[in-house]
């Protein structure tokens, strides 16, 4: 029996190519993702251990707050230094100042894009035991006007020793003289991040506070362990500080980064699994067709005494062999993919320095396992069908597809669809903790439901879609339509693979469009300002708060209000808090008071949105426990419950700018955006105001003046960028689906050799043969696309309904996009048919009609 299997494998090797391709692509994606992310995280692990290599102990503040960007801590006073230095075993101790800046290029624009790693400012450490930097040219910084740049920044900015370098921070733009160019260990940057170095006092003035450090780094004498030294230091430092080992300190940074990479990894793996799921349809289809085509041979084996189990085993062994080989090839391809992507990411500066490729065993094992299991699982049904072939079938003519199953199919499909819809519904609206998993399960069940029901609905769809083609395409159109209908299961499975990819694209397109329309609507109905000043910076690199005053002072401006963001613990949870000038803000953004007065917010007060008040049963006069990182009140009174359509970052807590000034250090006192209402709001007035506004804002690096329309567009453009990434990732699933269409057509052409020969003999031209295969392909593709889009629309609608409270208030369908998708599907159908059609048209007529 083994011999039969192996012979079978060899005989069908061409037919198994599509199966292999589907597995290879999915597995490559999966393995590639894991290899890439582990390589990146390994490289960053190395970066952090390099950066902190010389540190044995760190002393830092215990006062911290968790934010989405990692935990933030207060600075510590330089008064701890003498106490630390006195600890026996301490070789050297020095305070580290770290902050974010923007080094400006010669064109006065920030050299570093905000998407990449941040641009750091550091103080130059004078202790050789602690300083990882070495000067390659010039001298270390000394004095308030001196700056040292890393090799990369000096190259990027084309700076030479003696040049003037401008640095933008929240308080304005400072200029320095470049006195040195430095390298960190072997690296041109501070472990991937560009950095500028100043002497300690200058660094404190620029990105910190005089007399404070972010932390104190300590190097121990030889022979003393990190833990031993840490214990000794801990005993010598004040109560609101702590000592941790250099190892732990490094691990914390590594962990924070791993978390981000982990999310990225999961995100990509989801798409790899989608690709494999789509691939499983191709595998299923190929094995089904092969089994159908081998009916006589298998029946003969059965007649000769092969048991059912042997037949089943034979098909499964075939699947197993293909699965293992394809998975192994996939892993290899995945590693190559990771190498390519890594090089690409490095070249656009999005990755650590010279990342070596790490291939974790877990990635190899999991990828091969998943690839093989999916192949086996997809082959189970065809194998069972093969095993149930009666020995009698050997005597009968070529088997036609059984049709009597439609009733069971409808019931089974309906059960899956109802289950899927229910799961989706509970996931979206059920307040369940595992909402996301339920939604995923629901989507899976709905797709499976349509797959089961597919053979029932595919023929009528093919008839309807093919009607115009049959009318205008003559006989070849009619034959194409009939061919698309003759094997409903095959057509449906092929279409299903496409349905999944298109369904997800449609779903995302609809959701994104709804989000966009809702955002535009929210901005249009709530923002009464005519201009907005925006920035891509955050925190210390955002806009100086003084810009609000400068703009308000312009004669053209009636009101200007800035929005700032900070983090605080509210009732124990870390939350984003927005600060603004309440009275002014009310004039640029439509806010209605539900209770209390938004404009009257004072330094003890906080405003919350209507929905939160309702959900948490809060009323004006209630107080909330708060904890700001840098001190300030420990509780705030709800002074306003407001309602607005304005899309607010975070949960919607508002405080006044006066309170904001009390609870944030000077370098963090920045605004994210400024809304400007003009005195003359006529079209001409708005146009004229641009010049003076531009004059003020263009002096601030990173500030961007936008008309309301430009602002709206910028908001939606961000969503578009994300969309493009998602579409690119889904493209693989679509490519696999197209491979499936090619495969089905090829196998069908093979199966219809005689028929094609006959058609050619009685006068069908090659062109007509090609056109007929193409038409069949387009019909199959359109079936998948239309069902997919239908599912996508319904999913999108459900999600939009579920997110109503999150501000997606309108359900919008991007008709143009959807029509483009349908057109692309038709084109893809034509493309998929190219090779099979060519094969069909080249068929040797004589051989076709004389072959049995």
């Amino acid at each position: 029996m083994l011999k039969v299997t192996l012979r079978g494998l060899l005989a069908h090797k061409v037919r198994l190519i599509a199966t292999a391709v589907a597995v290879v692509l999915g597995v490559a994606f999966m393995a590639g993702t894991q290899v890439l992310t582990s390589s990146i995280s390994a490289s960053f692990d190395k970066v952090f251990s390099d950066v902190y290599a010389s540190i044995d102990v760190v002393v830092r503040s215990t006062n911290e707050i968790e934010t989405p960007f990692g935990s933030q801590r207060t600075r510590i006073s330089d008064s701890v230094l003498p106490a630390v230095e006195a600890v026996p075993g301490v070789d050297a101790a020095e305070g580290q100042v770290v902050g974010q800046i923007r080094v400006l290029g010669r064109d006065n624009k920030p050299l570093v894009r905000t998407q990449g790693p941040p641009n750091f400012a550091l103080n130059w450490l004078t202790e050789p035991a602690l300083n990882g930097w070495t000067i390659v040219e010039g001298a270390p910084p000394a004095g308030p006007d001196q700056i040292v740049l890393d090799v990369k920044t000096s190259k990027d900015g084309d700076f030479a020793i003696g040049d003037t370098v401008s640095v933008a921070v929240s308080t304005g733009v400072n200029t320095y003289r470049l006195v040195g160019i430095a390298r960190f260990g072997r690296l041109d940057t501070w472990g991937g991040a560009p950095a500028a170095l100043f002497d300690t006092t200058t660094a404190q003035a620029l990105v910190g506070e005089p007399g404070t450090y972010n932390w104190v780094s300590i190097a121990g004498d030889d022979g003393i362990s990190q833990t031993e030294l840490t214990d000794r230091v801990a005993a010598a430092i004040p109560a609101d500080t702590e000592a941790i080992t250099g190892k732990d300190f490094t691990a914390e940074s590594q962990d924070a980064f791993q978390k981000i990479i982990g999310i990225f990894n999961t995100f990509l793996l989801v798409f790899a699994l989608i690709a494999l799921f789509v691939g499983s349809f191709i595998i299923y289809n190929t094995f089904s067709i092969i089994v159908a085509q081998r009916t006589r041979e298998l029946a003969l084996l059965r007649a000769l005494g092969a048991s059912r189990r042997q037949v089943l085993g034979s098909v499964m062994l075939e699947a197993f062999t293909v699965g293992v080989i394809a998975s192994a090839v996939g892993v290899g391809l995945g590693v190559l993919l990771a190498i390519g992507l890594n090089a690409l990411m490095q070249s656009i500066g999005f990755s650590g320095p010279d990342t070596p490729i790490v291939v974790p065993a877990s990635a190899v094992i999991s990828s091969v396992l998943v690839g093989t299991l999916i192949t086996l699982a997809s082959a189970v049904l065809p194998a069972r069908r093969a095993a149930t072939i009666a020995p009698m079938a050997a005597m009968r003519d070529v088997a036609t597809e059984s049709r009597g199953l439609s009733r069971r199919r409808i019931i089974g499909g309906a059960v899956l669809l109802v289950g899927g819809a229910a799961s989706l519904w509970f996931g979206l609206f059920g307040n369940s903790d595992s909402g996301l998993q339920l939604v995923g399960l629901g989507a899976f069940l709905v797709f499976m439901g349509f797959t089961v029901i597919g053979p029932v609905i595919a023929p009528p769809m093919a008839r309807a879609l093919g009607a115009p083609l049959a009318r205008f395409g003559g006989v070849s159109g009619r034959i194409a339509r009939e061919n698309a209908m003759r094997n409903p299961r095959r057509t449906a499975t092929t279409a299903s693979a496409l349905m999944i990819g298109v369904g997800l694209v449609g779903f995302i397109a609809v959701t994104a469009q709804s989000l966009k329309v809702s955002t535009v609507e929210a901005i249009n109905t709530s923002v009464t300002a005519q201009y907005v000043v925006n920035t891509d910076g955050f925190g210390s690199t955002a806009l100086p708060i003084s810009l609000v005053g400068q703009i308000t002072a312009l004669p053209e401006v009636s009101t200007a209000a800035g929005i700032s963001a900070t983090f605080a613990n509210i009732e124990g949870d870390a939350r984003v808090i927005i600060a603004t000038q309440p009275a002014a803000f009310e004039k640029v953004v439509a806010i209605t008071d539900v209770e209390g007065s938004f404009a009257g917010l004072d330094t003890n007060g906080i405003a919350i949105p209507k929905t939160m008040a309702k959900d948490k049963k809060l009323a004006v006069g209630d107080s909330l426990a708060v904890n700001f990182l840098h001190g300030g009140p420990s509780s705030l009174v709800i002074e306003s419950i407001y309602d607005t359509k304005f899309p607010i970052q975070g949960p919607g807590y508002f405080i006044s700018d006066e309170l904001f000034a009390q609870v944030t250090p000077p370098d963090q006192q920045t605004v994210q955006s400024i809304y400007i209402d003009l005195t003359d709001t006529s079209a001409a007035g708005v146009a004229e105001a641009r010049v003076p506004l531009d004059a003020v804002t263009s002096a601030v690096p990173g500030a961007e003046l936008q008309s309301l329309k430009e602002f709206t567009k910028a908001q939606t453009d961000q969503a578009n960028q994300f969309l493009v990434i998602v579409y690119v990732l889904l493209a693989l699933a679509l490519v696999i689906a197209i491979v499936g269409v090619i495969n089905t057509l090829l196998l069908s052409v093979y199966e219809r050799t005689r028929e094609l020969g006959l058609l050619r003999a009685v006068g069908m031209s090659r062109r007509q043969v090609r056109s007929s295969i193409r038409t069949e392909s387009v019909i199959i593709s359109l079936i998948g696309t239309l069902i997919g889009l239908g599912i996508g629309l319904v999913f999108g609608w459900a999600l939009v309904k579920a997110l109503y409270d999150q501000g997606i208030t309108s359900f919008a369908v991007p008709w143009v996009q959807l029509i483009v998708i349908v057109a692309l599907a038709a084109l893809a159908g034509i493309g998929a048919a190219l090779y099979p059609a060519w094969r069909a048209s080249r068929l040797d007529v004589l051989q076709a009609i004389s072959s049995e």
Binding site: G474, S476, N483, E755, V762, G763, M764, Q768
Partner: protein, 254 residues
């Protein structure tokens, strides 16, 4: 039963519906070389029914495929009417098969996805020309298919399928019809019906037909039988009877 009311042979001036001149077809090379056709020169007269007979492997199918433009010769010439097939390219050959030649094969004659009626008009549909409705009606009634036209091939018996095939072969009024063992898979009664239709087409509509067969009874429907052996024309009988053909076969040890 023998055909006794054959019309007299057409006048000698009538040009052939198809003819070959020194046709050779060689398969393989060296040890495996086969002369499937060995300098065959033969004419198939217009408006006549010609049968080709000969032992298995004698080259009957090869001759027919070459004359019908499905295969090409190694050397020699083939004419359909006045057209030299070797001067035609693939596209012209396809058009020739579609418009001027009719086919009936031993089996698998019909496109399974099309109805009987659609199969009959297939060549015209492929050409994009409107079938002559009256003519189709005549054929359909001749082959006795009236109530079966809307059925698919899988719903027809073998005999009915062959009748549809004959109807298709005649539907476009081809100048010549080729049939390769059209009754080979049928019982003698269905086979007889098919042969009678072909005979009728020749008698009533002056259709030219060339048929390959192994069956002396089938051959007796023809006006003339050509005998092939080892790729060569070795004999022929005019106005054959089944007995004459059988006797000829026995004599040559078929």
């Amino acid at each position: 039963m023998t055909a006794t009311q054959n019309p007299p042979p057409p006048p000698a001036t009538s040009t052939a519906a198809a003819r070959t001149v020194d046709a050779c077809k060689v398969y393989g090379a060296g040890d495996t070389l086969v002369n499937a056709l060995d300098h065959v020169t033969v004419e198939f007269e217009r408006g006549r029914f010609t049968a080709i007979m000969g032992p298995s492997g004698s080259g009957k199918s090869t001759l027919m495929h070459c004359v019908a433009g499905l295969d090409t010769l190694t050397s020699g010439q083939i004419f359909i009417g006045d057209t030299d097939l070797s001067s035609l390219n693939e596209r012209q050959l396809t058009r020739l098969r579609r418009d001027t030649i009719g086919f009936v094969f031993q089996s698998f004659n019909l496109v399974p996805t099309l109805t009987a009626a659609e199969n009959i008009t297939l060549p015209m549909d492929l050409a994009g020309t409107a079938p002559d409705a009256a003519w189709i009606d005549t054929i359909v009634s001749t082959v006795n298919l009236g109530d079966r036209l809307k059925h698919r091939p899988s719903e027809l018996s073998g005999g009915q399928q062959q009748r549809v095939a004959v109807a298709r072969a005649l539907a476009s009024r081809p100048s010549i019809v080729f049939a390769d063992e059209p009754t080979g898979n049928l019982d003698s009664r269905s086979g007889g019906e098919i042969l009678q239709f072909m005979r009728t087409a020749v008698d009533r509509f002056q259709q030219s037909i060339v048929m390959v067969t192994h069956d002396p009874v089938a051959a007796s429907y023809a006006d003339r039988v050509v005998f092939l052996a080892d790729g060569r024309i070795v004999d022929e009988i005019l106005q054959p009877t089944a007995e004459a053909v059988l006797e000829r076969q026995l004599r040559f040890g078929n």
